[in-house]
């Protein structure tokens, strides 16, 4: 009886797993692909540019936070904006960029504050999108990262199947919230998300990142700093751009993160959180995403912070 039950349960489960697997390997038939797909172009930029360069990395506060042309003109260094999404997790973001670090490079990391809380630095559902874009990056995934994203796999797979079936049936792309922004073509030649620069501000999405600071993340950053140094490159941390409303709501946590970074970190920190707190009107749609005016201000600020360090 038991054998019978287990046999059929296993066969049934295999059916479900097969369905999930099909979803995972299904191609993306949407002609308007998400910003996750810009990773390929960003990797090409990093690969092609062999001379010493400034690489900006982090989550969406970076991809939505800079006009790299301003930095390039001010610093006389080529600049690549490698960032895409904070949800990939800090571990993945950094290990992805580490594959391309060469001697003389300057890596500037602006992690989102949520990366320091709980196990967020292992990544969440968006990491699955990135692995779909770049399956070869599976080699970067640790057991903890796999555990962190595993709960999203079934839903992710079914959503892919859903989208595939919809696009096939309608024979036209599924409409996204904005076809101009958040696509793989919303990125300029440096890797900055630029198509929103002239858009009207949307309702700001505010965040709460309350919780205990995870010191393991800082230990990880220490090891990253050592690796980058060994490659003959430089590593800096700059705090992310944040709207005043979210900063005020989360000041206690943000200051705790800053304190922990200064206490346990052995890397160079260029600024402090309040240096990149800007008025809400300088943000486009979320607490981290600057609009065109905000991007110019932050780019100039970072350029001046970096100037002294690059001499």
């Amino acid at each position: 009886m038991m054998k019978h039950f287990i046999k059929y349960s296993v066969v049934f489960a295999i059916g479900v797993f097969l369905f999930v697997f099909v979803g995972l390997i299904l191609p993306n038939n949407n002609p308007v692909r998400s910003v996750d797909y810009s990773l390929v172009a960003k990797h090409n930029l990093l690969q092609q540019n062999k001379q010493p360069k400034v690489v900006l990395t982090g989550g969406s506060n970076v991809v939505f936070g800079f006009n790299s042309q301003i930095l390039q003109d001010d610093l006389n260094y080529p600049v690549v904006n490698h960032a895409i999404h904070a949800g990939y997790g800090l571990k993945y973001i950094i290990e992805d960029v580490l594959q391309f670090v060469n001697e003389g490079d300057v890596i500037v990391l602006s992690p989102e504050y949520s990366h320091f809380i709980g196990d967020n630095y292992y990544g969440k559902e968006p990491l699955l999108f990135s692995l779909t874009v770049k399956p070869s990056n599976l080699k970067l995934i640790s057991f903890q990262q796999l555990a962190s994203i595993s709960e999203f796999i079934p839903q992710f797979s079914f959503d892919k199947i859903k989208s595939f079936v919809y696009n096939k049936a309608k024979n036209k792309p599924r409409r996204t919230n904005s076809e101009k922004n958040y696509t793989e073509f919303s990125i300029n030649k440096f890797g900055d998300h630029y198509t929103h620069w002239d858009d009207k501000n949307e309702d700001l999405k505010l965040y709460n990142f309350n919780g205990v600071v995870n010191v393991d993340v800082i230990e990880f950053l220490n090891s990253v700093n050592d690796q980058i140094k060994r490659k003959g490159a430089k590593f800096f941390i700059s705090f992310p751009s944040l709207c005043r409303s979210t900063y005020t709501k989360n000041k206690k946590t943000i200051l705790a993160i800053e304190k922990a970074l200064k206490k346990y970190g052995n890397f160079n920190i260029l600024d402090s959180p309040k240096d990149h707190v800007y008025k809400d009107v300088l943000f486009y749609d979320t607490s981290y995403h600057l609009n065109g005016d905000g991007v110019s201000i932050r780019s100039k600020k970072l350029a001046s912070e970096l100037k002294g360090q690059l001499k």
Partner: protein
């Protein structure tokens, strides 16, 4: 750990295999395994609160033994009182302290006295109302002589913390569940298959019905002043199904899981929205709690044996206490009070046991007269649910006031997508109304292919239409 998570998907088969293949030599070993995995299951939220369960278990284990040992009624009562004080004390501190403190402060303020009261900055331990009631039932039954106290601590601790029903019930009676920990459990294929079906149906109710309704309900209740009457009605309707899908879904998963391990838990919901009056509704909704209050509060108070005054008093006590059990907020007390008011006329007219027969037992369709009764009963429960969901009493009254206006016949301003799922649920459960759950198939003559097709379709529906994961509502109680 929650039932609708990948962790549970790994946890359940692992425990199942260990239980039947590794720890199957003796009952003691199986009980030990259940105890360990139950603590892991609970500790997944916050391991610190395990100490409360362990402490509560130790107290009740020894109180049971001492109650039996002593021959003096007075001493027996002492041990029972100790157990009650500790269990209710935990509830009082963790769940009700801030409520009483703030109510005292507000009450005195309304009389012109301003005082600073102490409030505790503490988190409510998940499931505290469920397991304290379960363990209290044990000491009460031992005190009454209805149950022999156990001398087996592992069996008792496993009974208190049994993971399928630990955090949101059904609140099992010691007389039903505890003896199952002493007897050899054998694997029953039909029971296990039906258990899996019940789990699947529970997941459907939680993920498709409750979680989809929750999105609209939160939107409507959070800014109810911005919506027209029809939208407010939809908000209340969806909440009625959200709470049903959420809670009965949890119970289905709990009962189904227990069956995989050879345990029988009591039925907690018996398709309550098909009730023809409020008395029938309360015989079918959260049965384990309703019967708990009936056996341990209502009957000891005299039940409905005394005169009219006693009947009225006991009815109000039972419903208000039941409301208060749900949470430390006046909204729950009003919810209980309202249900008492609904129930009272039936009790006074001796009509509270009129509808004990199965509904439309020989027909697919219900008679028009019964249909009207069902709709009316549903409508009055829906009004009561508004108090249950609203953040405070004032909001609940404003919500109802805004709901009753001419715009009740206007087009709702929110998505009606969950209505499709609700219709599916109602149809399926109507056909299954005389069975134990919505996916009961034991007596259906269906081949394997058709059954498997139904399971796969249901799984696809769950993933395809399932909404963003929401925590089970009853965890907060």
């Amino acid at each position: 750990m929650i039932f609708n998570s990948i962790q549970y998907l790994i946890f359940l088969p692992t425990v199942f295999l260990l239980y039947w293949f590794v720890f199957n030599k003796t009952i003691k070993l199986q009980n030990f395994l259940l105890l360990v995995v139950s603590y892991i299951f609970y500790g997944w939220w916050d391991w610190r609160f395990l100490s409360l369960i362990i402490f509560s278990s130790i107290i009740d284990f020894y109180c049971g033994i001492f109650i039996e040992k002593t021959n003096q009624k007075k001493d027996k009562k002492k041990w029972l009182t100790l157990s009650m004080l500790i269990n209710l004390g935990f509830l009082g501190v963790f769940k009700y302290f801030n409520f009483f403190s703030n109510s005292l402060k507000e009450g005195l303020l309304s009389l012109g006295y301003q005082i600073d009261t102490l409030t505790l900055d503490i988190v409510l331990p998940v499931g505290i109302s469920f397991y304290t009631f379960q363990t209290m039932s044990y000491t009460i039954d031992v005190y009454r002589g209805q149950l022999k106290p156990t001398k087996d601590p592992i069996a008792f601790f496993s009974f208190v913390s049994f993971f399928p029903q630990l955090v949101a019930g059904p609140i099992e009676r010691a007389t039903n569940l505890l003896p199952q920990f002493y007897t050899k459990r054998t694997f029953d294929l039909e029971k296990a298959k039906d258990g899996l079906r019940q789990i699947l149906w529970g997941l459907f109710k939680k993920i498709v019905i409750a979680d989809n309704c929750a999105i609209i309900v939160n939107e409507v209740f959070d800014s109810y002043t911005d919506f027209n009457s029809s939208t407010l009605f939809i908000g209340a309707l969806f909440f009625a199904f959200q709470i049903y899908g959420d809670f009965s879904g949890y119970s289905d998963i709990a009962i189904g899981t227990a069956r995989l391990f050879g345990f029988n838990l009591m039925q907690n919901f018996a398709f309550p929205y098909f009730s023809r009056d409020i008395a029938e509704f309360w015989r079918k909704w959260h049965i384990s709690l309703t019967t708990w209050f009936r056996d341990y509060v209502y009957i000891p108070l005299g039940g409905s044996r005394g005169g009219v005054w006693m009947k009225v008093r006991n009815t109000f006590i039972i419903f208000i206490v039941s409301g208060f059990w749900h949470g430390a907020n006046w909204t729950f007390i009003i919810w209980g009070l309202l249900n008492a008011l609904y129930f009272l006329p039936l009790l006074l007219l001796n009509k509270n046991r009129v509808n004990t027969n199965a509904i439309a037992s020989n027909s697919i369709f219900v008679e028009p007269k019964e249909f009207i009764k069902i709709i009316l009963t549903f409508f009055i429960t829906l009004i009561a649910w508004i108090f249950f969901r609203a953040p405070n009493v004032h909001s609940a009254f404003s919500y109802i006031k805004n709901m009753i206006s001419s715009s009740i016949i206007s087009v709702p301003e929110v998505s009606l997508k969950p209505l499709v799922f609700i219709i599916v649920l109602v149809i399926v459960e109507w056909f299954q109304r005389n069975n134990k759950h919505g996916l009961y198939m034991n007596e259906l003559k269906m081949n394997k292919f058709s059954r498997w097709l139904i399971y796969y379709i249901l799984i696809i529906i769950i993933f395809w239409f399932g909404a963003e994961k929401q925590e089970f509502i009853y965890f907060q109680f």
